[in-house]
Amino acid sequence: MDIEYAVEMRNITKEFPGIIANDDITLQLKKGEIHALLGENGAGKSTLMSVLFGLYKPEKGQILMNGKEVNIKDPNDANALGIGMVHQHFKLVECFTVLDNIILGTEPVKNGFLNKKDARSKILELSDRYSLKVDPDAIIDNISVGMQQRTEILKMLYRENEVLIFDEPTAVLTPQEIDELMGIMKNLSKEGKSILFISHKLNEIMAVADRCTVLRKGKCIGTVDVANTTKEELSRMMVGRDVEFVVQKKDPDIGDTVLKVEHLCVADRHKGLKAVNDVSFEVRKGEIVCIAGIDGNGQSELAYGLSGLEKTTGGKIFLNGRDITHESIRERSIGGLSHIPEDRHKHGLVLDYPLDYNMVLQRYFEKEFTGKNGFLKKKNIQKYASRLIEEYDVRTGQGTETITRSMSGGNQQKAIIAREVDRDPSLLLAVQPTRGLDVGAIESIHKRIVELRDSGKAVLLISLEMDEVMSLSDRILVMYEGQLVGELDPKKTTPEELGLYMSGAKNNLKEGA
């Protein structure tokens, strides 16, 4: 009778210490449909998907596949049942190649020997068919987050899974890649695969999903047909209030130069080329400058060079007139540079520390948090963290003592933003700051960034998000193959024109700057 559903999750309840992550949720995935899952950060989306994938055991509820009850004990069972998942934070082996990661667990063997040749051609064929560009021999540690994502997707396709779970796949992709992925998902659903798709981007949900289930604080608010709804209605269901999609800001009041970059070069750590090649620009007080570009054109390396994570190979950096080219990371940070890093797990957080320790990661050595005797002032740390948690609406199970690893991805990101913005920096270097945040949270983070700018601080935003670039920035610099190729005024340009610069087809800064 129920056979129209590929997967049915009935009355799922999953609790964690201090929080009910899933509270009596029922989700029905029709065969061949794309079913979106929407909800605020910490609403319980990843948890629900992890239950389906056998990573968590729910306290209550049952799972049916094709009308029959199944018992999914671990991811191997899920795989055997044809369920594949791309996790929000990838589960790749960092020191293995792309190829090895894809075949891991289903290694092809011929006469007792690993037979990578067939695997390779199958992967290349898949990567070609779905235009998921990867280098099969690159080591995961060395490739961009975008390519890691593509590796994860290929892994599912390689295993020929029937039910595909995408946990925020688009958070790390470029607009072009997102369009491609949307196309891929549509094709896959036409081929009869059933897809569960988590995203915070309402446009994407409107574009590909057939139906959408909305969660709020662990509860199921309802399932709607996407054809009969609007973005506004979805966000209202999700947040419980109206959300403004456009950033409100007054004209910038521009002051002195805060950051000055002259002929900066940064080497590509893995290929020995110049990832950043002779880049010069300025950021002044009271403005938000945005570096736009397609992923992998040197933006990450630029951020590494500015923050000190990577040595620069040429050129100079000045912060408030001081030459910081050869200063250490700590000196730059004390000198007024705040940095929201691109990869929150690699750089941004010590995941196994409690949240309050992560909140003071950039300030723990200050008088307020460490006494003269070298002892930490735990009380002050907790007080400070509690304030940030409150002000930035970071949602946790156990307050300041929550182990950061157990927090939802979006809330981890909010914690980093809180930490970096609250330091009252003279320059905020924000790399993809709203990656993985829900619309409500994005709205409030954008407000924070504009506030920071209005209080006379400089903001350098590196973003792949076209909407964010267009609505938040006062000035756009476009980066292509390690060089700046355009300077645009967001008020006078269009996304199409920006796109041309980003793909290298146009250049209004021919001789560098």
Partner: protein, 370 residues
């Protein structure tokens, strides 16, 4: 009810404890099997002797005395395990603890026997020596990218032969052992604080005993409560994040290994300055104490407080091994059995992961029946 039980099982500290107990039992079992193979007849008695150690003495006085002896050797072991776990928390594997211990022994004996210095000066010099070795490893790691395990092993050998050479002038004429401190320089002997009386006049029970426990507590405080500990643990947990927030990676690596080296060397002086044992200048390997420190660190769940108990236990087993009936077993049997047990103790982390999986599996099973 069910719930409290489950959350107890998931408690980290409790898991470490259970894992340690399981490893101990497993070690004893395998040790027993080996004894059975060698000589089935005496096996049961032999394993009981090992477990009993000093309890085998019927009189309370004698038992107390030999309990004291176990403690005398447990103190240096505790220091070695602190050395290993301190480095481990910062993401470093200090296998060089063995060499640092050896070097510490050499320096404190030289200071005591040749320079005739008082005990605390001997101890301080030994610690400086151990720290120096640590600094060398740390320096090589930070600036030449040499893994601390490699440099540690090399330094182990270097220290052994340096110490043999250094102590050659202060050895007894008729043997290859160093002079007895008791006869040469009583000032260099650790003060007894009346502890010897407590252990039926066991003259070797000294200040070392309370001091080692105090050091363990201090290390715990440093790791948990101070800025230094905050940095070291952050580095151990996520090197990249530590770098991102500007922690001085190189300085911290060197500092960690320096402290680590000083701890191991201090352990050596807490032992050799009791006069319990003399150094053989023909030693062909570094004392096992440093390596056993690794096992003790893991068995103690990588916690300084846990290390107090695990060090005692490992020493207890080692001492017990010495009482095995040598007419039924060859004389190396005690070492063999205790090392089997000790090395199994090193599997605690593995055991913990294994247990976690089991717990999860069983939970999922229950879920299916509901």
């Amino acid at each position: 009810m069910e719930k409290t039980k489950r959350s107890l099982l998931k408690n980290q500290g409790f898991q470490s404890f259970i894992a340690s107990i399981i490893c101990i039992l497993l070690g004893l079992l395998i040790g027993y099997i080996v004894l059975l193979f060698i000589n089935a007849e005496g096996a049961t008695q032999a394993i009981l002797v090992i477990i009993k150690n000093f309890f085998k003495y019927p009189s309370a006085g004698a038992a107390m005395k030999y309990f004291g002896s176990t403690l005398v050797k447990a103190s240096p072991l505790l220091l070695c395990s602190l050395s290993v776990l301190f480095a481990y928390k910062a993401g470093l594997f200090n296998i060089g603890a063995a060499g640092q211990y050896c070097f510490g022994a050499g320096i404190c004996l030289y200071c005591a026997l040749s320079l005739r210095l008082p005990w605390f000066v001997c101890m301080v010099f030994a610690m400086l020596g151990g720290a120096l070795l640590g600094i060398i490893s740390g320096f090589l790691k930070s600036f030449c990218n040499v893994n601390e395990v490699i440099s540690g092993i090399m330094l182990n050998w270097i220290s052994l032969y340096t110490v043999n050479t250094l102590l050659a002038p202060v050895k007894e004429e008729t043997s290859h052992y160093t002079l007895n401190i008791y006869n040469v320089n009583t000032d260099a002997m650790l003060p007894k604080l009346g502890l010897d009386k407590l252990f039926t006049n066991n003259q070797y029970v000294t200040l070392a005993l309370p001091l080692s426990v105090i050091v363990a507590i201090v290390i715990w405080i440093i790791l948990e409560k101070t800025k230094l500990g905050f940095e070291l643990r952050a580095t151990g947990l996520n090197k990249n994040a530590a770098r991102y927030c500007g922690m001085a990676e190189r300085t911290n690596t060197i500092l960690t290994l320096a402290i680590s080296g000083a701890l191991a060397a201090m352990g050596a002086s807490l032992f050799y300055l009791t006069g319990y044992e003399q150094w053989s200048v023909t030693s062909s390997s570094v004392p096992a104490m440093g390596f056993n420190g690794i096992a003790a660190a893991f068995l103690g769940g990588l916690s300084p407080i846990g290390a107090i108990f695990s060090s005692f236990f490992i020493q207890h087993i080692t001492e017990g091994g010495a009482y095995v009936d040598k007419t039924k077993y060859c004389s190396q049997i005690s070492d063999l059995i205790s090392s089997i047990i000790i090395y199994l103790c090193g599997f605690v982390l593995f055991m913990k992961t294994f247990m976690n999986n089991m717990i999860r599996k069983s939970e999922l099973k229950k879920g299916g029946n509901e």
